[in-house]
Symmetry: C2
Subunit: 564 residues, 2 copies
């Protein structure tokens, strides 16, 4: 194969800010693959979820909105523009950079409920400009929000300031998106942090390499954002989470610069890279990242398995990890998610009668093989040499058998590959039609995984009327795995914020009290802060604040996020 893992999908996205969707995922002309089948989707959901009466929920037209006044003087604006000429104060830029892309953000954007906006949005071209901007902001006590793709779903890029701060500066990094160097001997590449996923993989792919970081946000997020939020891509089993990919980096802070050394490994005190990864803009602006890169794999095989239950599927995942078998991805949907995705995938392909016959036929085969009616679908991704891939698949098939797993061939994998970055687009359409949808994610060791799965599901179901609660495992390790919940509910158009707050709060309380991570790969931002601070307890919080105060004594960097 040896091709860029993304090239076959390449939608040639135009990232100019006005072309990107303001209050939803994606950009003009880049939409949900089944958007022309939305009526069928609704019918499908009707039978799946018993939709009942839904309230239409159109967005308030953007043109009718009035933004709060700028809190910067003309002198201040021109001082900023003197440092960095591409700096804008128009309403569109301010609105686009006011929040991220969470359900909560989209709700507020659609219903004109945003209260706080940046006063200026700056697109610097160099780290020198950034250093000057931070010095200036520090001298004026302005808050500074670093902004990449803006795809945060936890309030990580929301415009915030401390009470004593006068204004908010947003630093958009996307004009700093160059490949600075590629070292084929050491297999490392140094990029400016504002580079989007597709461009990064294209530049590496042309030289025969890949980074291997493919989060669902891949098309609309940047390297700097991945690092700042400590993200994880769909192929993390092979390539690792972003923190494993970082060789070294550069952080510009109000008090100066930190540039870690390009080294493969070291025993030199606390790991500075691992403090900056996950710092979510609260310590400074990540300007450059050197990452470890890999040769493009010789071949790629994405296959499906059917398990009689989510439990057996999780047991299978654990066993594969305990045996150290090389895979790129193990992605297991629980019974509800499996059924929905299966039905969605069939939409628009064939007549519904043919589908029914075909499904019954497949069910017959599954029954004979001991896989009952409630199926849990697992997708297994394998990348590597022909020999490696076949040897791993061989071992995996044996393990799957011992958990009553049924090998379903490459078709489910191919179907997933085509649509793997597409699900966030569906939210736009659901929301238009009165259906709210949010996701929650956590991680937990295997000893407590079922306990957490059931506890969180129960908490969500009992807290509010929902349409569905589904879950999948998308990242797994020797000691545990992630759980990713998708919850849909009839939108309460009168109190959409209170409805969301209650759901989020109930679910995160459950995750926290059952010992799950406050976040596995989305980060903390504003939305998880309350629980994060509880996990830190007073001791760690004080220490982390001490670290920050060495770099940002006035707390101008992304104030209010994380521990800041």
């Amino acid at each position: 194969m040896n091709s860029n893992f993304y090239s076959e999908l390449n939608p040639n996205i135009d990232y100019s800010r006005k072309n990107l969707r303001l209050d939803g995922w994606g950009s003009n002309g880049h939409d949900f693959f089944l958007k022309d089948h939305f009526l069928e989707i609704k019918n499908l959901l009707e039978s799946e979820w018993k939709l009942g009466e839904l309230q239409k929920s159109p967005a308030i037209p953007y043109e009718t909105r009035v933004l709060p006044k700028l809190r910067l003087t003309k002198l201040e604006i021109s001082a900023i523009q003197k440092i960095s000429p591409n700096a804008y104060t128009d309403d569109y830029e301010r609105t686009f950079h006011s929040v991220g892309k969470s359900y909560y953000d989209v709700l507020r954007l659609r219903f004109n409920l945003i209260k706080e906006f940046p006063d200026i949005v700056i697109y610097p071209k160099s780290k020198e400009e950034i250093a000057k901007l931070l010095k200036y902001a520090s001298s004026k006590n302005f808050a500074v929000i670093p902004f990449g793709g803006g795809s945060s779903v936890v309030g990580g890029v929301e415009a915030t300031k401390s009470r004593n701060q006068k204004a908010i500066l947003c630093i958009d990094l996307t004009k700093m998106d160059s490949l600075l160097s590629l070292d084929e001997t050491s297999q490392t590449a140094t990029f400016q942090s504002g580079i989007y996923g597709p461009k990064l993989e294209k530049l590496l792919g042309e030289r025969g390499f890949t980074l291997g970081h493919f989060p669902q946000s891949f098309e609309y997020s940047t390297l700097g954002g991945w690092v700042a939020a400590r993200g994880s891509g769909q192929q993390s089993s092979r390539y690792g989470r972003i923190e494993k990919m970082v060789n070294s980096l550069e952080l510009v802070t109000p008090e100066g610069e930190i540039k870690t050394w390009k080294l493969p490994a070291y025993s030199t005190g606390p790991d500075l890279n691992q403090i900056i990864v996950g710092s979510e803009g609260t310590l400074g602006v990540i300007t450059e990242v050197t990452v470890k890169i890999h040769k493009l794999p010789e071949t790629r095989k994405y296959v499906g398995f059917l398990f009689p239950s989510f439990t057996q599927g999780v047991n299978f995942i654990r066993e594969v990890n305990h045996n150290g078998i090389k895979v790129s991805m193990l992605r297991l949907s629980d019974e509800d998610e499996s059924r929905l995705f299966g039905n969605l995938a069939n939409l628009g392909k064939t007549s519904s009668l043919y589908r029914t016959i075909k499904q019954k036929f497949i069910q017959k085969i599954l029954d004979v093989n001991g896989v009952g009616g409630n199926k849990s679908v697992l997708l297994c991704g394998l990348d590597g040499s022909e020999e490696e891939v076949n040897s791993s698949l061989n071992r995996i098939q044996k393990i799957a058998k011992s958990f009553q797993g049924f090998y379903a061939g490459e078709k489910p994998g191919l179907s997933w590959l085509k649509t793997r970055y597409n699900m966030p687009f569906l939210r736009n359409h659901l929301l238009e039609n009165g259906i709210g949808v949010d996701t929650l994610e956590t991680s937990i060791t295997y000893d407590k995984i079922f306990y957490l799965y059931e506890g969180v599901t129960k908490a969500i179901r009992s807290s509010m009327p929902i349409l569905s609660s589904m879950c999948h495992v998308s990242h797994s390790y020797i000691d545990g795995a992630s759980l990713y919940f998708t919850i849909t509910f009839p939108l309460d158009i009168k109190n959409p914020i209170a409805q969301w707050t209650k759901m989020k709060s109930t679910a995160t309380d459950a995750i926290f009290s059952l010992g799950g991570s406050v976040s596995h790969h989305h980060g903390i931002g504003l939305d998880h802060k309350k629980w994060y601070i509880k996990t830190l307890e007073a001791t760690s919080e004080k220490a982390l604040k001490g670290f920050k105060s060495g770099l940002d004594p006035k707390n101008i960097m992304n104030p209010g996020k994380l521990f800041s």
Copy 2:
């Protein structure tokens, strides 16, 4: 195989402090495997290194020494003993805990040059005792040095205090050495930090598991020490460095406790585990560590290859890493080290005439295979299932061929396995005979590895008269590898400290200026501090000090080490 990787060597070490060697490596009855052949060794070194006239350098008898007076009052001692009854102020305990096991330490111990001693050595039994001890020490402004196996070779456990501190408390953790829990489902185990390597592997091995951390100090170092110094074991290619093995941990500080959550992965801000790993006792006392464990491998194969040069061997290592082939260990000696180890391994086995004939015969085979006179020996360790091991070996043999590597079978591997923890004992004997020996280690990305190798070698050779300078690669990664230098020199009995200081300083200056890590796996301690602080620059140093001040505002924890 499925046996504990250490059981075949088990020397049943008695760790009582009086049984351990005070001024050298090891314990009574546990010595260098060739110690009965020392005359032959000397003859061998004579021809290898042209020893010339050496000065005998006997240690000053321990009994004749007088220690400085205790700086604790009787009341203070009894207050400490009330918290933790196993607390001692005798000369032996104070001397044993005054320094670690570096060449510099051993020199000073042998020549009675230690200036600073702990005033009391405490063996707590619980974290509650430690918490009380730290509170007490903080209230009295006493320095506190956490101490595990005491095997630091960088001054990491040296008794130090700030000028304004009255006395030094040493907390020896080795009485806290229990397995607290083993979670077979999540493959994690929680230990108290004071457990020595052999006991830890024995407890895991009985249940079919291994941690897989086997540093050369394995027999005389503890889990807490590995974590505090951010160490790395000989099988790191398979099991990772210690920071990768840590799932979570507990740190007791003067201001309270940090207990990180048992989780497989998380995106929850800066990684607290990775701040505490490598903190070298400066933030608090690591009391518990939860590690990821692995099933004991089905089989194990350690084989040798001969390369025509160190350069070709390094190129081979890089290629194996770039192809992501699963190995446990790749260990490559440069030409000088290869020749010496080869000759050492043959000592005492057969008559010298037979040896000469055999060597000539082997050389003949090597010549035919294109491996010239200057050979570089590589040991490759493979652990796993029969299939995995064979498949990896197969791929490795192909790569080796393309770098003119000659497969030498299992004999070199078996020989290394038997003696792998034994080299530090040789230092004792060399030092008795007027030969100084020290080691230096660093890491570097592949693009600069030869440049660093040559630069450091040249700096050492030009700085002082040496007997030999040898090097090996023992840890490798996708982006680079470690370099481990062993330098021998005729001991300058009149100025041994100045001689060492000059060598250390010259070599570390070279490492630093050529871009190598100040340490790959030994840590910073006192000996590397000067260069470490330079890599931090003012910005990071200030931030790290800020972090520490949240936990240890009076700087009582291991003062003078790292950034403290």
